[in-house]
């Protein structure tokens, strides 16, 4: 039979099924909803058949793992080689407290560290700054200088672990401190493995820990690319993040589109700074969210890999296959967790873990059940880590590569997401790129619209959240929540004041003056920051020099 006839026959058979069997059933029972859509608003068919995947060209659209366009995964053997890195984001209170939590997590079988910094550290304020009061040690660990960083990694060999640091506007400074700790441990920069988030664009559009305006921020980022290419070759110099865009309320399609648009802006900035694309592109990494919509999420990761590969190869002319690969970390979705019946969150996180693994993630953080209530307790963090271990060791999903491939539905979703992502990228290009789109408030507005639409749909009962707008019950307040002692702030301030008395202040001032001069010119700032950090210049002092030279970002407020 000819190919065309075969499709016609199947099409006819499906029509008969709809008019016969389905109609008959519908006359007795209507479906639950008039129409079904994914969270991104992609219509979901009642049934997918080979007809939905008939345009798929296996070799071009899917290919093989470890090969262009990487739809099926970036590594040739994926989880048959080794599981994803289980990396729980942690850090609170003081460096001593966080150091204890890291050691606990490593003992429990975690395979990489992920450092959460408090807000003053993320925004470049020392703990004794007035606006830092009340925030010290709250959402992460307080780091003012190299002295705190030495305590944070005390007894943790930096040549053995890989460390991810969620730090953006001040990423260059924290990376410099990490390098200085390694030097003291006798570990060379060539041996260091890890990631700094270093993604300022999503701070403007979704997360809020910006300091400087876009132009000098992009300079700091490309300075890090350049410095690491020469000195810290195994370091992931950026983690281009959709996670926070999604948490702020975007859809899955917007998450991928806005993240890849940010990625394009970073690549363009580095090329403009004189780098060759293949010198830095292999060290770019990504960070995505995993929500409950299992199939759309798995398809999202597959589509993201395919689109990025195409961007790098065709748009930027990258030659090294490593430059084409979208390697990513995933975190389960904090925004899906409920304060109501919090144990239900364990189940949500398990589904999201599956989505991330079926989507081929390289590393994963699983959220704790109590995160809508407080910082996670030790028990909750352990359950979250065990969830990953159960999926890895018991579910069997890692035994074959990309097991959802070939599902008519998942392939169809992958293609549809890809199409919609390209449409957004074209739109952002037309606005002049991601930086311009953010300055005009376009991306913020798109996110806020989606977030509001979701809230309305939930309140209208069109989206069900178990325990929240259905199946509610009377509950007792949860016990055993983690609290950060307010005395942590005072102790940290005291520690900082003592440091300022004991260090060589004249030498610090010298290095800060050098940094100021360098910032006024066009040279790479990393060596100057590193020199200041080694002498215990504080993060706030370094940022204040840069604030003087660069100015501060003033956001557009979009409602």
């Amino acid at each position: 039979m000819l190919e065309k006839e075969k499709w016609q026959e199947l099409s006819k058979a499906k029509e008969n099924w709809e008019k016969g069997t389905v109609e008959k059933a519908l006359s007795k029972f209507k479906e639950r909803q008039e129409e079904f859509n994914t969270g991104s608003g992609i219509p979901i068919a009642r049934l997918c058949t080979p007809l939905d995947a008939q345009k798929l060209d296996y070799e071009n659209d899917l290919g093989f793992p470890g090969e262009y366009p990487f739809t099926r995964g970036v590594q040739p053997t994926m989880y048959r080689g080794r599981f994803w890195t289980m990396r729980q984001y942690a850090g609170f209170a003081t460096a001593e407290e966080s150091n204890k939590r890291y050691k606990y997590l490593l003992e429990q079988g975690q395979t990489g560290l992920s450092v959460a910094f408090d807000l003053p550290t993320q925004i470049g304020y020392d703990s004794d700054t007035p606006i830092a009061q009340g925030e010290i040690g709250k959402v992460g660990v307080a780091i003012d200088s190299l002295a705190d960083m030495e305590v944070l990694f005390n007894g943790i060999p930096l040549d053995k672990v890989s460390t991810s640091m969620t730090i953006n506007a001040s990423a260059a400074i924290l990376l410099a401190m990490y390098i200085a700790v390694a030097e003291k441990q006798g570990v060379s920069t060539e041996q260091l493995r890890g990631t700094i988030q270093n993604d300022i664009l999503k701070e403007y559009s979704a997360r809020g820990t910006y300091i400087f305006p876009p132009t000098p921020s992009m300079r700091l980022i490309t300075n890090v690319f350049e410095f690491c290419a020469e000195n810290v070759p195994k370091w992931n110099t950026i983690s281009i993040s959709g996670y926070h865009i999604r948490e702020a309320g975007s859809t899955a399609v917007q998450e991928v589109a806005f993240t890849l648009a940010d990625g394009i802006a970073y690549v363009e900035a580095a090329i403009k700074a004189g780098m060759d694309v293949d010198d830095f592109a292999g060290r770019l990494s990504f960070f995505f969210n995993a929500h409950n919509d299992l199939f759309e999420e798995a398809a999202k990761f597959r589509a993201a890999r395919k689109v990025w590969a195409k961007i790098m190869k065709e748009r930027f002319g990258a030659k090294n296959p490593r430059s084409w690969k979208l390697r990513f970390h995933t975190q389960t979705a904090g925004s899906t967790l409920t304060a109501q019946q919090p144990d239900n969150n364990i189940v949500r996180v398990a589904i999201q873990t599956l989505a991330a693994v079926l989507g081929g993630t390289q590393s994963l953080h699983t959220n704790s059940r109590d995160e809508a209530l407080a910082l996670p307790s030790e028990d909750s963090v352990r359950i979250a880590l065990r969830t990953q271990q159960i999926v890895a060791y018991e579910s069997g999903v890692g035994e074959t590569i990309d097991p959802l491939a070939g599902s008519y539905y998942v392939e169809n979703l992958t293609t549809e997401i890809e199409k919609r992502v390209w449409a957004y990228i074209e739109k952002i290009d037309a606005l002049g790129g991601a930086v311009k789109a953010i300055e005009q408030g376009y991306i913020q507005k798109e996110i806020a619209d989606s977030s509001y639409a979701y809230q309305k749909a939930m309140e209208a009962g069109q989206r069900i959240v178990v325990g929240l707008n259905k199946f509610q019950m009377e509950e007792q307040p949860v016990k055993g929540l983690l609290r950060v002692d307010p005395a942590v702030g005072e102790a940290q301030v005291k520690r900082l004041q003592e440091l300022k008395k004991s260090r060589d202040n004249a030498a610090v001032q010298n290095k800060l003056a050098d940094l100021r001069q360098a910032a006024q010119g066009e040279t790479n700032l990393m060596p100057y920051i590193l020199a200041a950090v080694r002498l215990y210049a504080t993060e706030g002092e370094i940022c204040n020099v840069l604030r003087d030279v660069f100015g501060e970002y003033r956001p557009v407020e979009i409602l």
Binding site: L119, A132, G134, G208, S451, P477, V478, P486, E557, L559
Partner: protein, 134 residues
């Protein structure tokens, strides 16, 4: 004669960048017919109070997810009192443990709305409270 519309300042105190909740509340209040001013991120208590007085609002609604609420929310109430503006209704929302709520209410925050609160509940609370005064 047009009815006087309720004026609300939606504010983000401290360094927290999570503004999804604040923006959703701001839009909901606006859709419910209130006049809404949004401060944007990183406001000190002093800035929030100055904006509240300048804009002559009936309500200050603050959102905070960083854990600094016990420090920052009462500060706003204190400063409003200093400026003789204690008639402004002060509300708080965000990730706030149950155990902190009595303390915050004692310090003059009229109500705390935790994650999962339907926006209609906030609208109703404001209307009931401000209605009492008018």
């Amino acid at each position: 004669m047009a009815e006087k519309r309720i004026r609300v300042l939606v504010a983000k105190p401290g360094l927290d960048g999570h503004d999804r909740g604040a923006k959703v509340i701001a839009r909901s209040l606006r859709d419910a017919g209130m006049e809404v001013i949004y401060t944007g991120l990183r406001q000190t208590p002093e800035q929030i109070v100055a904006a509240a007085i300048q804009e002559d609002v009936d309500v200050v609604a603050m959102s905070l997810l960083s854990g600094a609420h016990n420090h920052l929310f009462p500060k706003v109430v204190e400063l409003l009192k200093e400026k003789n503006a204690e008639d402004i209704l002060v509300l708080g929302g965000g990730v706030i443990p149950e155990a902190d709520i009595p303390f915050l209410k004692e310090r003059g925050i009229a109500e705390i709305f935790t994650p999962g609160t339907p926006t209609g509940k906030v609208v109703k609370f404001i209307r009931d409270k401000i209605g009492e005064k008018v």
